[in-house]
């Protein structure tokens, strides 16, 4: 890996770490972002100097959030990973899904008779703001989809 790529990989690792994800997740993403083609778990592990088991766990996690795509090759039992085309759109879709769940949770909370008025008011304010954010994300998503 050249020095600029190395720097990006480490920076991505620090970013995901700051966001509460393992550093290795960011490093995997940074590495694959700069690779024109898919890479096997072994290749990723070797380039990053970490164990294959560790790469495997976090590559799966990144696939779940929509940033990576898992590929397989005929006659080859290994898993290959590549950054997902439209990965960021998928991340936003994922985010919208979890925001909807959050919204439903707040709605359910507001219906609760045993809630204190103070908490009820707090949740009402949150939910209304949350809805605005949800609308904004949905608008962005539609714009992204129309550009693809």
């Amino acid at each position: 890996m050249d020095p600029a790529a190395r720097r990006l990989v480490e920076q991505m690792g620090l970013l995901t770490e700051a966001d509460g994800l393992p550093r290795i997740a960011g490093r995997i993403f940074g590495y694959l972002l700069l690779e024109p083609e898919e890479r096997s778990l072994d290749e990723i592990a070797e380039s990053l100097g970490v164990s294959r088991a560790s790469v495997s766990t976090d590559a799966r996690r990144l696939t779940q959030v929509g940033l990576l795509e898992r590929r397989s090759r005929p006659g080859d039992r290994r898993d290959y990973y590549v950054v997902a085309p439209s990965g960021f759109r998928r991340v936003i879709e994922q985010r919208i899904r979890s925001m909807r769940q959050f919204h439903e949770l707040l709605i359910a909370a507001r219906e609760l008779p045993s809630l204190s008025p103070e908490v009820r008011a707090r949740i009402a304010v949150w939910d209304s703001a949350h809805e605005d954010v949800l609308v904004a994300f949905t608008t962005v998503l539609e714009r992204l989809r129309s550009q693809e």
């Binding site: 970013l15 509460g20 972002l33 979890s98 908490v119 605005d132």
Partner: protein, 162 residues
Amino acid sequence: MTETTPWAATFVETMGLLWEGEGLPRIAGRIFGFLSLQTEPCSLDDLALALGVSKASVSTDARRLEGLGLIHRVGVPADRRDYYTVVPDVPARMLAIKIEQLQRFETALAPLIEAPELPAVVKARIMESRLTHKRIMSTLRELLIELRQGATPPPQPATTTI
């Protein structure tokens, strides 16, 4: 501390799962969910007891939530322990966190555009993702301004009167 009803327990657990889905520790989501339903500040001991986890674990994730600006520490006179409550402007803070995450990512990508040795396909990918991030950020920033302007002054937290 408000008594934990079965419903409140479900709320707390669901919040934990939601956070986990976002890649954050489940316990952080549970702490946030629990504090969301409280009218009084809670100590780490209160949290550990209510959530059935160790004080050490609660302490780590309470600090993480404090770092994210979603809860804050309040002092209670004649009590040396740390007490926590949710911040008054949770929605704006949550949105600001998202914007900060996007901004950091976008900033990290910026130097690559100038890197001459990158394959064209990688360069195109990076340019596209920067553009996407910029669009998302500008929409969210407008909304953040609106949220902050529209925010009604929060009720005084009960802590200041204890």
